[in-house]
C-alpha cells in the first residue's frame, strides 16, 4: 500500500453530562423534557448576586469517571470564570476549571485495524452547561432549563489519526462512562457533545500543521463525517500549495460539509480567573481510594473473563460487554444455565433485535434472565424444538412469565414419542406418493418436503430429527 501523502492529527474535547438529579450550582432539577424555563432560579439564570453552591455528587462523579479512565486525581482543584458574551450565558462567564482541573492525564485503550492503541487524555474538568438557543425569523429564544447542568469536559491528547479512530474512541469512552454509572450518555438528549481539533501534515514530518476546530458535534456519525470531510479538504488545500487558516468551523449535516464560522481571535481571550464565589475542592486520599475500590470491572477485563469463564468466542464477548446492562443480563442468565453459548446466542440475535425494533432497554425487558435460562434448558433436553422455542421467547418477551408453565399451558412441548411420530409419517407417505417415489429415485429434496408435511400435521411440534429418522427407516423398507 502507498503511504498517504498527508497524515491527520486529531484531538477531541468531549462534553459528558453527569447523571445528577439537580444542577451543578443550584437545586433546580436537571430535565431534558421539561417545558422551557420551568427548571430555573436566580443562580442558573445568572442574576447578579446569586451565589453558586457546588453539587457534591457532580464532583464525585467526575472523579469516578477519572478513575475509570486512569487519570491522576488532583487532591486540590478549583473553579474559574471563563468570560464570553453570548445569550446562552447571561452572567457573561461560564463557571469552569482552568489550571487546576479535577483529573489530569489518563487514557483510553481502543481497538484499531492495526491492533490496540492508547489514546492519552490531557485532563477532565467540571463545568456548567449553558442555555439552549432557538432561532426564529426575527429573534432568538433562550431556554435556561439546561443552563447549570453539570458537564465533564474530557480532553484528549492529539493522538487520534483517523475518523475511524475518533469513532472508536467515542464508542469506547461511552461504554466506560456507562460502566462507571456517571452519565446516561444519551446522545439524542445531548448527553455527549464533541468539539474536534484537526490538522494535517506531510507524512514523515514531525511538526504539526495548522489546526481547524469543529464545534458542537452531537452525534458520533457527525464527528466521523466532519473529520472525513475535513481531512479531504485540508489535504486538498495543502496539495494545492495553499495554507490552512486557524479557525472554528461548523459541520452542516445536511450538506455534509464544514463551513468557516469567521470568529474573531479576540473572542477566544476568555480572561480566566478564579471564581471568588466558590471555594477550592480538596479530596482526601482515603476518599479517592474508596471510590477506586468501588470501580466496576472495566469492559476490556470483562470481555477477557467472558471468554475464559463462559467459553464464549471473543466476538460474542465483545458484543455483550459493549453495553453494561446487556453484559449484566447475560451473566445473570448464564450463571443459571449450563449452556452459556446458547444464552449469548439468544441475547445477540432475538433479544437485541426485538429490543432495537421496540427501542426498549434490556433493563426493563419482561423476559427475566431466569426465564431465558429455563427456556434454553427446555431446548437442550428436547422438550422444545427451535421453532417453538422462538414462539415461547416472543411470548415471554411480550408478556413475561416462565417458559415451562407456558409450554404446558399452550401444549407446545415437542412430540418425541415414536408412536405419534410414526403415525404422522404414515399419513404423510400415504398422502404424497409422488414425493415418496422421488425420494426413492434419490431426490433428497423430497425427504425435506415430507418432513415439512409431518411438522405441519403436528403444528410444528414434532422433533424434526426423529421425524427424519422415522421417514428414512420407513422408506428404506
Amino acid at each position: 500500500m502507498v503511504e498517504p501523502e498527508y497524515v491527520a492529527t486529531i484531538g477531541l474535547e468531549v462534553h459528558v453530562q453527569l447523571d445528577t438529579v439537580s444542577k451543578m450550582f443550584c437545586a433546580c432539577r436537571t430535565s431534558f423534557a421539561a417545558p422551557p424555563n420551568t427548571a430555573v432560579c436566580p443562580v442558573c439564570l445568572g442574576y447578579p448576586g446569586a451565589l453558586p453552591v457546588m453539587n457534591r455528587k457532580a464532583v464525585e462523579y467526575t472523579v469516578r469517571a477519572g478513575l475509570m479512565l486512569d487519570c491522576d486525581i488532583q487532591s486540590h482543584s478549583k473553579f474559574d470564570r471563563k468570560s464570553y458574551f453570548y445569550p446562552d450565558m447571561p452572567k457573561n462567564y461560564q463557571i469552569s476549571q482552568y489550571d487546576q482541573p479535577l483529573c489530569q492525564g489518563g487514557g483510553v485503550e481502543i481497538d484499531t485495524d492495526a491492533g490496540t492503541r492508547i489514546i492519552r487524555l490531557r485532563r477532565i474538568h467540571l463545568e456548567e452547561d449553558v442555555a439552549k438557543n432557538m432561532h426564529f425569523a426575527q429573534s432568538s429564544g433562550v431556554d435556561f432549563n439546561r443552563a447549570g447542568t453539570p458537564l465533564m469536559e474530557i480532553v484528549t491528547q492529539p493522538d487520534i489519526e483517523s475518523a475511524d479512530e475518533a469513532l472508536g474512541f467515542l464508542q469506547t469512552l461511552k461504554a466506560l462512562m456507562l460502566y462507571s454509572g456517571v452519565s446516561r450518555c444519551n446522545l439524542e438528549e445531548g448527553n455527549m457533545r464533541c468539539d474536534v481539533n484537526i490538522s494535517m501534515r506531510p507524512a514523515g514530518r514531525e511538526a504539526l500543521g495548522t489546526k481547524a476546530e469543529i464545534k458542537n458535534l452531537n452525534t458520533f456519525k457527525g464527528v466521523q463525517g466532519a473529520l472525513l470531510y475535513e481531512i479531504d479538504r485540508q489535504a486538498d488545500v495543502l496539495r494545492g500549495g495553499g495554507e490552512i487558516v486557524q479557525e472554528t468551523r461548523r459541520w452542516d449535516v445536511d450538506v455534509g460539509k464544514t463551513f468557516s464560522m469567521r470568529i474573531k481571535e479576540d473572542d477566544h481571550d476568555y480572561r480566566y480567573f478564579p471564581d471568588p464565589d466558590l471555594m477550592p475542592v480538596v479530596l482526601e486520599p482515603k476518599e479517592i481510594a474508596d471510590w477506586r475500590q468501588e470501580l466496576p470491572e472495566a469492559p476490556r477485563a470483562r470481555r477477557v473473563r467472558f471468554v475464559e469463564q463462559y467459553e464464549l468466542p471473543d466476538y460474542d464477548a465483545g458484543v455483550l460487554v459493549a453495553d453494561k446492562a446487556v453484559a449484566d443480563y447475560f451473566e445473570e442468565a448464564a450463571d443459571l444455565s449450563s449452556n452459556s453459548k446458547a444464552v449469548s446466542n439468544w441475547i445477540m440475535t432475538e433479544m437485541l433485535r426485538m429490543l432495537a425494533e421496540r427501542e426498549g432497554a434490556i433493563t426493563d425487558v419482561l423476559i427475566r434472565p431466569a426465564a431465558l435460562a429455563e427456556l434454553i434448558g427446555l431446548v437442550d433436553d428436547e422438550t422444545l424444538n427451535s421453532n417453538s422455542a422462538k414462539e415461547v421467547f416472543v411470548s415471554l418477551f411480550e408478556d413475561g412469565g416462565m417458559p415451562a408453565a407456558l409450554v404446558k399451558e399452550k401444549g407446545l412441548a415437542q412430540v418425541s414419542d415414536s408412536a405419534s411420530i410414526e403415525a404422522f409419517v404414515e399419513q404423510a407417505i400415504a398422502e404424497n406418493p409422488k414425493s415418496v417415489s422421488d425420494y426413492k429415485a434419490g431426490k433428497t429434496k423430497a425427504a425435506k418436503f415430507l418432513v415439512g408435511q409431518v411438522m405441519r400435521m403436528s403444528q410444528g411440534r414434532s422433533n424434526p430429527q426423529l421425524v427424519m429418522k422415522a421417514l428414512e427407516s420407513r422408506l428404506a423398507d
Partner: protein, 99 residues
C-alpha cells in the same frame, strides 16, 4: 525599561473590546492613565519576597463547600419571564443570533 514593557501589556482598547465597552478616544486615554496608576499600586507587591507563600485565590481557609444532590423548588416561569425586556409565552427573546 520594565515599566515600559508592563505598560504595553495594558491595552485599554483591547480590554474594552473584550468587555463589549464602547469607549471614545479621550476615554481610552483617561482610563489608560487611571488603570496604569492602579496597576502600578498593585505592582508594589512585587517588591516583597513572596517565594515562601502559596498562591491562593481565597483569603479564607475554607474548602469543600458542597450541597447534596437534592432537587429544590424553581421559580415560576411567569415571574421569570416578566423580568425580561422581551419574551414570548415560554422563552426569553433576544436579538436574532447570527452564526
Amino acid at each position: 525599561m520594565t515599566e515600559k514593557k508592563d505598560n504595553e501589556a495594558l491595552d485599554v482598547a483591547y480590554v474594552a473590546r473584550l468587555a463589549r465597552l464602547e469607549l471614545a478616544d479621550h476615554e481610552i486615554r483617561d482610563f489608560q492613565g487611571q488603570l496604569e496608576d492602579i496597576v502600578g499600586y498593585v505592582r508594589k507587591i512585587q517588591e516583597l519576597d513572596v517565594s515562601g507563600v502559596e498562591p491562593t485565590a481565597h483569603p479564607a481557609p475554607v474548602v469543600n463547600v458542597f450541597r447534596e444532590d437534592v432537587v429544590g423548588p424553581s421559580l415560576k416561569r411567569e415571574d421569570v419571564l416578566n423580568n425580561a425586556p422581551l419574551h414570548d409565552e415560554d422563552q426569553f427573546l433576544v436579538p436574532k443570533i447570527v452564526e
